[in-house]
Symmetry: C2
Subunit: 279 residues, 2 copies
């Protein structure tokens, strides 16, 4: 089986490392010749070129570009492919990708492997990035079952735990557990630096410890990624933010009215429920 | 120098371990005889008893009880002390402690060492818990300078980085960087479990990864501690929550109106500023 990878960054590169190790013939495409060369040197790919034409012999292609380039990449490569070739992607938002992707290419399946590190680029590619990572396939009505099975088989072979969902439920779920945290975390940092006098900001900075560090981590991370979440999952993220806002108003109300038993119940519930998100 | 410790939990116990190692004569008081025995066995203290009378020979006393017991503990011990004895505490809120504490005992100095682990109780006491931890002294107008110097010397000797602040600025700073994070983090978990269908909650739980884990950590922690923050720092916490809420409304507005450059500026700022809180 010949597998193509378009985009050799952290995700595409790590995918390549695992697939070449498993013995697949992996064909990489990057816009940068230097990236192709690094990918060849590190055995991330079997072949690599800047030209999409190299993909014409592939059976399955992973589009691993930033989200805004996924649909343009599909448009660019399909003229080289046989109709049996399966295309999937790794985008973290699916609604805006899967319907149009399937229109462009019948054998398209949306994937979202939930894996990553703080690093970017082919240099940061690593083995086993996907081991034990959840990976969601997001079929729609006319998605090919055979294509789904093939894609699931490959993700499973490199360690992913597979889930199926509609693109819409997927986007809602990631809005809650991934995109909302980025915004509330960013707003924590933003609020703490705009909270009054220099003396207060300075003392806050000196006293901040592990609680602040953890709660602020994703809000002080990759800017492009945060922006992309808001742009591509805008509708679902807005719903989450507004519900979050309403719930926060209730917490404020409980503290204002000194309803300590209600607040205690909420904190007890959150302590009990958190482990269900950490399996 | 004889040092007393009232309350032999994680903080009092760890303090005792460091102080006995430094050669001080450490006298511990706990309401539980079993705690006294463990403290003696582990060399956390030189002497330990359940009776406050044992403190009468001490030069300096650390009150390491939960916050609601700090003032009652001072009331209980002062009849045994000579007027030169210095009392300090380790409470995480200072406004409600320092003014009344100083009225009860002229030689009172408020301290707040920012250290801890997820564990509680004398069994979890550990060496070097305070190493490199910030510790704030919160003098008021009639605080004795000599008492402050003595307390600062002891905290410094076990590794603390010392800061001085008014109780009010201290409480505002910890509301921002410690108490607010707990509430927004708890509200994240609370919102995610009340966000709709079982299918959505289940998929959210399956897909949640490190971003959710970190952002939700302090909101799924010690219930009593979270409740205590809200009760004892209610005024400052409410101010933070309301400012946070207003800033979140602006973020929502930017996403609604697709003001991507403004959102990008905010995320760029938060990425730039976060390291200033992590020294």
């Amino acid at each position: 089986m010949k597998i193509g990878i378009v985009g050799l960054g952290l995700i595409g590169g790590s995918l390549g490392l695992d697939l070449t190790r498993l013995g697949y013939h992996v064909i990489g495409v990057s816009r940068q010749l230097s990236t192709c060369n690094i990918a060849l040197e590190r055995n991330i790919v079997t072949q690599a070129e800047v030209d999409f034409a190299i993909l014409e012999q592939t059976d399955l292609i992973f589009i691993c570009t930033p989200i805004e380039s996924i649909l343009p990449s599909i448009e660019n490569i399909i003229k080289y492919l046989s109709p049996q070739t399966i295309i999937t992607d790794v985008g973290s938002v699916k609604g805006s990708i899967v319907h149009q992707g399937t229109q462009l290419w019948q054998n398209f399946v949306g994937s979202h492997p939930m894996a990553g590190t703080a690093n970017q680029g082919v240099e940061s590619a690593e083995f086993d990035l996907f081991k034990n990572a959840p990976c969601v396939l997001t079929p729609i009505r006319n998605t090919s079952l055979t294509a789904m099975e093939t894609v699931a088989k490959i993700w499973t072979s490199i360690g992913c735990k597979m889930y199926n969902s509609t693109p819409e439920i997927h986007d809602r779920a990631v809005a809650w557990i991934s995109h909302l945290p980025v915004m509330i975390s960013a707003n924590l940092i933003y609020s703490c630096i705009n909270n009054g006098s220099q003396e207060l900001v300075k003392l806050s900075q000196n006293l901040a410890s592990s609680g602040f560090r953890d709660t602020s981590r994703v809000g002080g991370g990759n800017v492009e990624l945060g922006l992309m979440m808001a742009q591509y999952n805008r509708y679902e993220l807005l719903n989450c933010l507004k519900e979050y806002q309403q719930n926060l108003s209730k917490i404020i109300e409980n503290i204002e009215q000194e309803k300590w038993t209600v607040l205690e119940d909420i904190l007890t519930k959150t302590k009990e429920e958190r482990p269900n998100f950490l399996k």
